[in-house]
């Protein structure tokens, strides 16, 4: 039973977190002409925006934060665009298609971190920070060690997440557009480099906004088309679906029968979201704390609505795709007993788009999936580049003695570098089992980035020594437990049994980080520690009131 739960958690997390939107070998499809035409229109429009944004991106502040003049509504949409990856669209609807109710449980886990971000993080983050969350963590602590720690956590999270996105995107595009895997990865990498180096945060923001709009519109159309078949009556839809797949799809299955795994996954999701550098960075694009709050309000609304739609889409796929031979891999029927869906369960939403809207709408949804990938990788790359240029280069190496233009140039070089790394990793990892990658990214975000950020905002007693040791312990524990856990130790290294039995280490690694930080802070009797405690009051006042906070730039 436990094994089944783990298998399920692994599959679920892979599907939802998007480690590989499409697993295993994928057959290259015939060229999908409407999809390519619509994608070319999207790329043309976004490159136009990038050109417009490039003319407005004149300083480091413009580059990192779009000048800080994005409105709460726009930023809420962009956050949603940053967070709703292609894999969560395809993965969650695929999970609903496969297991019904359990898919909903996953989506709820991905949503509940957002209110917590609003109540605890958004406002002090906006009031204390400038470009990166390391600005906040190092506000009253020693710059060099804290920046190095925060930048390591950021870069590790970004690169792991990028690998997952690149591999998933290569396979998805291969399947949808009939392009070669390497070509697909290179197109994604090059476009992302173009958006970010030339248009900075302004172009990235608009790519994310447009993508969120397209994704929400397309998903709404699909959900409405499905419901129209059933006179907008959920009872009829569910009744038909259970006739095909059995009554079990309406109840919780084996997803979270083990409380430790359930709680650990919840910790990873809630604290992980609050430690993702590309998400945190979005809060610096708005003018003040008021707009930051509105951002989360709108983002939570869009993301919640999106999960509601994916639930309907998953059920729609059950009733319209599950028994339609057009979408099934009949060749495999003899082996497994039932015909699996072409391209795997994560293609459920794609097939449904064809079932409700024909070739044209399939092309539209395919183009939206591609756009979605671009928006997510652009946000990630920008966050990684700012950790390199702002935290490591400008603050650690140059000790802040650097002008804004040079810092922006370094950031652009870092963007190109990260883009090339992403392309190489994407190609290198094509045939690898990358199921652990996004889980690890969330674990690091939850256990290294989040505790330091949170304690620096709220705990007077935090010292540099405590933060550096506690954060490093959290990072090391997360990495170690993932390696010793079932996915890497058993599935990749081929050992019979995992040394650490749980797939999600967050519950343990987050505790290690907090306890380590606490112990090494309270035992720190240095003069530096006393000065840091003394500086807390001024920091807290700024965090609460926004007096002295970074404003929007004038233009």
């Amino acid at each position: 039973m436990i094994n089944r739960i783990f298998l399920f958690l692994v599959l679920g997390a892979v599907a939802v977190l998007g480690a590989g939107a499409i697993e295993g070998e994928v057959a290259k499809q015939a060229l999908n002409v409407p999809a390519i035409v619509m994608f070319v229109i999207f790329v043309g429009a976004t490159l136009g925006i990038t050109y417009w944004a490039a003319k407005r991106t004149k300083s480091a502040k413009d580059f990192y934060t779009a000048g800080g003049g994005i409105t709460g509504f726009q930023n809420g949409m962009a956050i949603a665009g940053d967070y709703m990856s292609a894999a969560s669209f395809l993965g969650i609807s695929g999970l609903v298609y496969l297991n019904g109710y359990d898919g909903l449980i996953y989506s709820i886990g991905f949503l509940v971190g957002w209110p917590i971000i609003l109540f605890m993080i958004a406002e002090p983050l906006r009031n204390l920070g400038k470009y990166t969350f390391a600005d906040v963590a190092s506000y009253r602590l020693r710059q060099t060690p804290i920046r190095i720690l925060a930048a390591s956590g950021s870069i590790a999270t970004v690169i792991l997440y990028l690998i997952a996105q690149m591999v998933g995107s290569g396979k998805l595009i291969q399947l949808l557009f009939g392009l070669q895997y390497e070509v697909a990865v290179i197109i994604v990498g090059v476009l992302m480099i173009l958006y970010v180096t030339f248009g900075g945060m302004l172009a990235t923001t608009w790519v994310q906004i447009i993508k969120a709009f397209l994704l929400l519109s397309g998903a709404t159309f699909m959900a409405v088309a499905v419901m129209a078949h059933y006179n907008f009556n959920f009872g009829e839809l569910f009744a038909h679906a259970t006739e095909l797949k059995g009554i079990e799809i309406m109840s919780p299955g084996g997803l979270v029968s083990d409380p430790v795994s359930a709680i650990s996954l919840a910790v990873a999701l809630i604290f992980g979201v609050a430690g993702l550098p590309h998400i945190l960075m979005r809060f610096f694009t708005v003018g003040d704390a008021k707009e930051a709050r509105k951002s989360v309000f709108y983002a939570t609304g869009f993301i919640g609505y999106f999960y509601f739609l994916t639930f309907i889409i998953g059920f729609g796929a059950i009733v319209m795709v599950f028994q339609n031979p057009q979408y099934l891999d009949v060749a495999k029927q003899a082996i497994s007993g039932g015909a699996p869906i072409l391209g795997g369960n994560n293609m459920a939403a794609i097939h449904l788009s064809h079932a409700v809207g024909g070739d044209f709408f399939l092309g539209f949804i395919s183009a939206v999936a591609f756009a979605t990938i671009l928006a997510v990788v652009s946000g990630l790359t920008l966050a990684g580049a700012s950790a390199i240029s702002h935290d490591l280069y400008a603050s650690v190496i140059k000790k802040g003695q650097i002008d804004s233009i040079t810092e922006m140039k370094v950031s652009k070089v870092a963007t190109v570098g990260l883009g090339i790394i992403a392309i190489i990793m994407g190609i290198a990892f094509e045939q690898q089992n990358i199921a652990f990658v996004v889980g690890l990214a969330f674990a690091i975000a939850a256990s290294a980035n989040f505790p330091i950020l949170f304690l620096s905002m709220y705990w007077k007693g935090l010292t540099t020594r405590g933060a550096v040791i506690g954060g490093s312990l959290g990072l090391a524990t997360a990495v170690l437990l993932v390696i010793l856990g079932p996915i890497v130790w058993v599935d990749i290294f081929g050992n019979a049994e995992a040394i650490f039995p749980y797939k999600y280490p967050a519950l343990f690694s987050v505790i290690v980080a907090f306890v380590g930080t606490y112990i090494f802070s309270i035992t720190d009797n240095s003069q530096g520690a006393k000065d840091e405690a003394e500086a807390f009051e001024a920091q807290y006042i700024r965090a609460q009131t926004g007096i002295g906070a970074e404003g929007a730039s004038e233009h």
């Binding site: 509940v112 109840s251 309000f297 006042i541 007096i547």
Partner: protein, 104 residues
């Protein structure tokens, strides 16, 4: 921030009111969200049959469907409640604090 300004803000009753009200409100809402979410997850872990029960006799729709949808809606409503109060009452208090130190 200047020493003088810190002292003034720290002793400003508006500031003390802002911090105490907002902290209480934020912590309360955080706890409510966590309790709702963990109640949901732990029900699934220990008593899944509760959520698998039919909504009415003969219906295939289970209790879990409206409950799950309600958790999503609830998360959104909580962000709305916080944003409304913070952007109104708390920001009004905050503006008074800012006004009182703008000459410093």
């Amino acid at each position: 921030m200047k020493k003088e300004m810190i002292e003034k803000i720290k002793n400003d009753p508006n500031y003390q009111e802002l911090v105490s009200k907002r902290s209480k409100f934020a912590i309360t809402l955080t706890i409510i969200m966590l309790v709702v979410y963990f109640a949901f997850i732990l029900t699934i872990a220990f008593e899944p049959a509760l959520l698998g029960a039919p909504l009415s006799s003969g219906s295939v729709t289970t209790v879990g469907i409206p409950v799950g949808m309600a958790v999503i809606l609830f998360a959104f409503i909580l962000t709305g409640i916080y944003t409304k109060r913070a952007n109104g009452e708390f920001d009004d208090l905050n503006n008074k604090i800012k006004d009182s130190v703008k000459d410093l």
